[in-house]
Structure formats: structure tokens, C-alpha cells
Amino acid sequence: MSETTKKIISCPQTGDKYTYVKHKSGLDILICEMEGFSTTEALFGTKYGSINTQFKTDKDDDYCCVPEGIAHFLEHKLFENEDCDVFDLYAKTGANANAFTSFDKTCYLFSCSDHYQESLKILLSFVQSPYFTPESVAKEQGIIGQEIKMCDDDPGWRVLFNMLSGLYHNHPVKIDIAGTVESIAEITDKLLYRCYNTFYNLHNMVLAVAGNCKEDEVLAIADELLKPCEDFHLETVFPDEPDTIVREQTVEFAPVGVPLFNLGFKCTPRKGYENLKAEMEAYVAVNVLANSASPLYQEMLEEGLINTVFTTDIFNGDGFFTVIFDGESENPEEVKKRVIGEIEKAKITGLDEERFEAVRRSAYGNMVQSFNNVNSVANHLINSQMNGVSIFDTIDVLSKMTLEDANNFLRTELHPEKATLSIVKNNSEVK
């Protein structure tokens, strides 16, 4: 086993810094001491989310396929120790504890303003101590069943997943993170252990601690509690995903106000720094094209085609990259036409240089602002590490980006034939 090594990473523009530690147990640890803050936030996460449904390690002969929603189910179940509920342990430290599962990660977290070392001990201990029984699995099916139904009543959630199923033929990103009532019924304690032993290996995990903390205190707790584990070379695979989209439009009926829409463009997925670079280029390009300072936005707003809920988003991860135009409109088809029209025009004329500068500046300001906040630093740290970049790479990418880079993204990635429109509206809608 190798020794623990440390590296200080700093940002010349803002003066912020944090420490990256490769712990001898195999875990990546990121620590950002933030002077003057009372809160400590820690996230302990694994690169395991709803999209990781097919995998193998050195110990397996073949790829294993698991039911949809199992990563999220596992997250719920890890909160139960053999003798107590994890919330009862945190209750004694006063920390605010939670967990979440996304498409490509599961994170366990707490934030507190006192006794952070005790809370960190709880965090590191329970995540490393699985305890699943058939009875506890059955009990959780009722709770998660209600969580799924709650999400089914969230039109913003539905419009996103319908858009993703319009874009992706096979990639599991199109599947609801919590799975379905049917898929979670297939989950057993044995399957949970199998997934746990595969993904909750310290070589596949990251710990991020930010705010009111001391590096040596965090490392002392890590030394005490991290159980070294063997790196058995986890491989996750995704089914082949064609370049094309599935369908041009999806409509779902639900009780909503103005119809909601997501217009999604399927783009080329990338990894690491290249992924961040493409993400920032996409971010800048679509903001120049369609943010509230753009002529397109102004025109659609004044015509009453959109309201100020209209926004854009870049949604990317392992094997997927989507540019989203998200909003409310009585006529989403017309919005789609206008957006595509503006993209095609910009491909010829290029993006407006002044607004390109404005968006870049604004993105820089947002980065500086995010260092005002313990919660956002902790989350940035873990996300960046899991994506194979540093938190300051965003500022680096922004400072190097040229107008031509943004134009190039537009020209090579945003194609009308790769766009899908998802709409959620009232059944009685007869417009």
C-alpha cells in the first residue's frame, strides 16, 4: 500500500485554495479550510448513480445487470445500521444530515456548526458499514414507492425525463433515478450487497470537507476510520448509443399551469477536462444566444411566447451531453422553431462579441461568488473531483476561451435533427 500524499491547489485570480489528498486507503480527499465561517460541510460519495446499471470487476466473469433505481435504494438503506438509524447518531451531534443519488453519483453529507469531528466519524463509519436484511428492504419499498409517486406529480421532473427518452435510445440516463414501483420490487438484500461491494470501494469514492475545519483533524479521522481496500478495477459499461434521437416530440398530460417544455439537443459526450471545456463552451454559446440579454429572449418575451421562467442548461455526464432550453409556453413548437432559427443564423454570422464578453465575465463573477458559501464549495469540490478536474479549472477554461471556440461548439454540436421537444400540459388544453 502506498503512503498518503498531499497537494495544495490554488486559484491565482481569487486567492482561494484547497488541499488534495490521495489517502493511503485509496480514497481521494479534498479539504478547504474557510476562515470566518461557522459551518462545516462534508460529503462522502461514490461514483455510482442511476446510470450505472451494468458493471464488472476483476472478481466477476461477466457484466452484472441490476434493477433500475438500485443505487438510490441503496442510499436509503445505508442509513440503517445494524443496531440503529444513522439519523439517531447525528441527532447527538446536532448536525443536519442527508444524502442524495444523482445520475452518476451517490453522496452522504452533513452540515453543522459544532462537533464536526464527531459527525465526520459518524459519516465515515456508517458509509463503510452496510447492513441489509429482507425485512428492511421490504419496509423501504413502501417509502420509496411514495417518493416515486411524489416525483411523478412533479411536472418539471416529468418534462425532463420525457425529453431524455426522446433523445436517448439505450443510455440509462433516460430512466428515473428512483426507478419504478415495479423495478424496485425486484431489489433484494443480496443484490444490494453486490452493488455495495462493487461501488463503495474507496478507490471509487471521494471525501470533500469545506468550511470550519482543520486539515490535520480531518486526516487524523481518515487515518483512524478508513478501511484500506483492494483496487479491483471496476468497469462500468453502457449500451451502445446511436447518434440519432428517438423521437421529435413527447407530450404528457398533467395538472399544470402554462404548458412546460424542455427542448433538448443531443451532443457528443466527453470526459475530464475536455468535458468541462465543452460544457463551458456550450454554456457561453447558449447564453449569448438565448439569455435574458439576448434579442431572441427579448423578442419571444415581448410577443408573450415565453415568460421569464425561460432558461438554458447544460446537462452532461458519463456517456451523455445535452443542451436544454427550458421554459413555459402556450406554443412550445413555435419556441423550438425560433431557437433553431437563431442557432442556424448564428452558425453563419457568428455569436455577438460584446455579449460573449458579458457572459464570460458573468460566469467568472459567479465562480467568485460561489466561494462565499460553504455548501457550494463542498459540492464543487466533490463534483469536480468525480469529473476528473479541479474546481479552479472552470476559471482557467473561461479565461482561455475565445469567441471562435463558442462558435465552433454551435456549428459542430447543435443540429436541428438532434433536437427533441418534450411538453407537459393540461389535458383540457385545446389551444
Partner: protein
């Protein structure tokens, strides 16, 4: 690192609070207009506020305003309309990175201050009427916001339940008014509402930054000096009478999950005892509701209680299967009886206290939590330091918690029920 605050009066009805904390990289200014939530005027005030934050005479469209904000390193201007007890609270916020982070040495704070002052005192209006184009945009926005209340089911059912819980009180109305009222608004009558707000609302201004910036306060003083204000005092706390017998309201909608809200009135005025009781009963993941309704009986994903200080009211909201509604209700009420009977351990008290202290001690970590903390002081009529607040929780006894629980009376049961769907 230092943190300090000072509150001065610009006039009898305008407070100015400066909160300084050297760790912050941003400057934030908030201007809060307070008035009684009046059903005839709520929509006009809400629309006036949102027009102010969208453009002004010098930045006459949303597009030029947005570009200006982007050039100031992603400065942010926003408006929020909310309800606190019987009050309508309209807050305009502007924030940006501190000048020392500006890459070309721009005076960012000075610029955003000017934008904000223009928005409030030099609106995009002519002949006592707001600009027609911006009026149309924001009127549609407000109508769409009202329509979209149903999109967030958890928030929607709480608003629906409030109609019955606070029947005939201002708190029963939406802070946006109704669609009909919004449709009756004109650029002229909204402009009058704006003038009225400027003259009659109670106003609280907040500055949060790393170092003292006296010119901000001076600028507001100067701007308000030409106004002869006749502000109408507001009451931050109003008691809502408990109904003689609890009322049940059921609404049917084509949804996948039923939702239930129970409204309770709390007559005990011992604030910290009531807050501790609420924590033990249902506000945390180690509370009685979480441990029993969710973990033990697996009836719900969420089932939590919340105490609304301004109305001496507690609400429990939950999402539940149709056939489990009765079962959930019985258990929720049973757990309240447990607290009333004193069936909780000293450990549960300690845990609740730890949780309360944890929240209190984190107040100084974001500009917005600082502001809401200081605003709470104004609305309670007594400002506690963070240490005094922590002390108040430490002094609550078991007997006081039991007494608080025994003052809780069920008032309303609201249920959003699944309608038999035609399109499934």
C-alpha cells in the same frame, strides 16, 4: 475575521441595517417593503415590485438590464414576493462581487447601488403609467406564476390549506392576489400602487458586505429625503382563532399521490418551548413523525411539522396513498398525544436542542441568512444576538415543552385526493 451589525433609522418608518463580515466576497443590498396583505391590493403591489426589478428609466428593457448585470460580473437583481403571517413582504435584492475582485478595477458596488436606486426611484414610466411593453410582459408573468402554483404540489396544498386554516384573515390570501385581479390591472393603476408602496409601506433596508460602506446609507437617506411619507404601521404577529370543531376540506385532482395537511393552532406564547416541541414532534429526521409515520409504518416519504411563528400555527404536511390517509392521520395525531403526555426522553430534548443550536450558529454564513435573522428580530420586536438565541433554547424545560404541546389544537384537515383518472 469580524462580524458586526448596526441598525439606524433613516426615518420613523425606514430602518437601515448594516451587517459587516470580513469573510464575504460580495456586497448585497436588500430593500424590503412591508404592508398588510390586502386582497384588493396584493396583485398591484406584487406587479409593481416586479416591474421595478426588471427595468428602469436608464435601463429601459430587461435585455439592457441583464447585459448591464452581466458586465458587472454577474451581478444579480431580483424581486421576491412572499407572505409572512398577515403581511405581504416585497423584497428587492441586488448583489455582486466586491470591487477588489473586479478584473479591471470597476467600482462594482457603486454601480449596482445606482441601478437599484434607479429601479426604486426612477422607474420605467411616463405620465404616471408604467411602460406598456414591460407592463404586458410582467402582467403575463404574474398570471403564469399564479397558474403555476399547482406545479409544485407540496406548496400548492399548503396554500390551499391556508385558505381554511386562516379563513377570513389576510394570511388566507395568496401574496400574488388572484388572476381576476391581475387581469384588471393597468399601467396606470399599478403605477399608483407603486407610489403608494413608496409612501405608505414600512421599509427595511439591509446592506451585507465585508467592510463599512457609509455611502450606501447616505444614498438612501438622500433618495428618501424628498418623500413625505405617511407609513402605515404593520403587525408582525397576529393570532388566528382555533375553530370550535376541526374542519375537513377535500379537493380532487388527477394526481398520483394524495397529500394531507393538518393545521393546528398553538395558544402557548412561550416561543422557545413551542419551537422545541415542534422539533421533537416532527421537524427533524429523528422526530416522532419521521421515526413513526415514515420509518416504522412506511406510510410516507415525507411527513413533517412546521411552526409558523407569525400566526402561532403549526402545520403537518405529508404525501400518502389514498387508502392510508386515515391510518396516517391517526398516527400523526397519536404522536402529538405522546408529546402532550410527556412521552419523550431527555435524550430527545437534548437532540432537539442540539439541532436548534446548530441552525442558530450557522446564521452568519450567508448574507441572506444574516438578513432573515435580523428581520426576525424586527418582527419579534426584540433582537437577540446569536448567543442570546442559543441561550434561550438552553433554558427550555421538559415541563414547558409539555405545556406547549398541550396548547396545540387541531383546526383544519386538508386533503388533496386522487381523482379517478381518465387518461391512464
Amino acid at each position: 475575521m469580524t462580524a458586526s451589525y448596526t441598525r439606524t433609522k433613516i426615518s420613523d418608518s425606514i430602518g437601515y441595517t448594516s451587517i459587516l463580515d470580513s469573510k464575504f466576497k460580495t456586497n448585497t443590498i436588500k430593500v424590503r417593503f412591508l404592508q398588510s396583505l390586502c386582497p384588493d391590493k396584493a396583485s398591484a403591489y406584487a406587479l409593481a415590485g416586479s416591474l421595478l426589478a426588471t427595468s428602469n428609466k436608464n435601463l429601459p428593457t430587461l435585455a439592457v438590464m441583464s447585459k448591464k448585470m452581466s458586465m458587472l460580473y454577474g451581478a444579480n437583481i431580483s424581486l421576491s414576493v412572499s407572505k409572512q403571517g398577515d403581511l405581504q413582504v416585497i423584497t428587492m435584492t441586488i448583489s455582486a462581487i466586491d470591487d477588489k475582485y473586479a478584473l479591471n478595477g470597476e467600482p462594482v458596488l457603486n454601480e449596482i447601488l445606482q441601478v437599484l436606486l434607479d429601479c426604486i426611484f426612477n422607474p420605467n414610466a411616463e405620465n404616471n403609467a408604467f411602460d406598456r411593453t414591460m407592463f404586458n410582459v410582467k402582467q403575463k408573468d404574474l398570471l403564469d406564476t399564479i397558474d403555476a402554483e399547482i406545479n409544485n404540489k407540496r406548496g400548492y396544498v399548503i396554500q390551499q390549506a391556508s385558505k381554511t386554516i386562516f379563513k377570513d384573515e389576510p394570511a388566507s390570501y395568496s401574496c400574488y392576489g388572484t388572476k381576476e385581479q391581475v387581469l384588471n390591472l393597468t399601467p396606470e393603476n399599478v403605477y399608483s400602487a407603486y407610489k403608494e408602496m413608496l409612501n405608505k409601506s414600512m421599509i427595511e433596508i439591509y446592506f451585507v458586505g465585508a467592510s463599512p460602506k457609509p455611502f450606501v446609507e447616505e444614498a438612501f437617506k438622500k433618495a428618501f429625503s424628498s418623500y413625505e411619507r405617511e407609513a402605515v404601521p404593520v403587525s408582525f404577529r397576529t393570532e388566528s382563532k382555533v375553530k370550535e370543531t376541526p374542519v375537513t376540506v377535500t379537493e380532487k385532482l388527477p394526481v398520483n399521490q394524495c397529500k394531507m395537511v393538518l393545521g393546528f393552532k398553538v395558544s402557548d406564547k412561550n416561543l422557545y418551548a413551542v419551537k422545541m416541541m415542534n422539533l421533537i414532534y416532527g421537524q427533524t429526521p429523528f422526530s416522532k413523525l419521521f421515526a413513526n409515520v415514515r420509518e416504522k409504518l412506511s406510510l410516507c416519504y415525507y411527513c413533517a411539522s412546521n411552526y409558523i411563528e407569525s400566526k402561532y400555527t403549526m402545520m403537518v404536511d405529508s404525501g400518502v396513498e389514498k387508502e392510508n390517509i386515515e391510518k396516517a392521520k391517526t398516527e400523526i395525531l397519536h404522536q402529538l398525544d405522546e408529546v402532550k403526555a410527556g412521552n419523550f426522553t431527555d435524550e430527545e430534548i437534548e437532540n432537539a436542542r442540539m439541532s436548534a443550536l446548530n441552525s442558530v450558529k450557522g446564521i452568519g454564513d450567508t448574507p441572506s441568512s444574516y438578513v432573515s435573522w435580523h428581520f426576525t428580530g424586527i418582527s419579534r420586536g426584540k433582537f437577540n444576538t446569536i448567543e442570546e438565541e442559543a441561550e434561550a433554547y438552553k433554558n427550555v424545560t421538559r415541563e414547558e415543552i409539555i405545556k406547549a404541546a398541550n396548547s396545540v389544537k387541531l383546526d383544519t384537515i386538508y386533503i388533496m385526493e386522487q381523482e379517478d383518472s381518465e387518461n391512464e
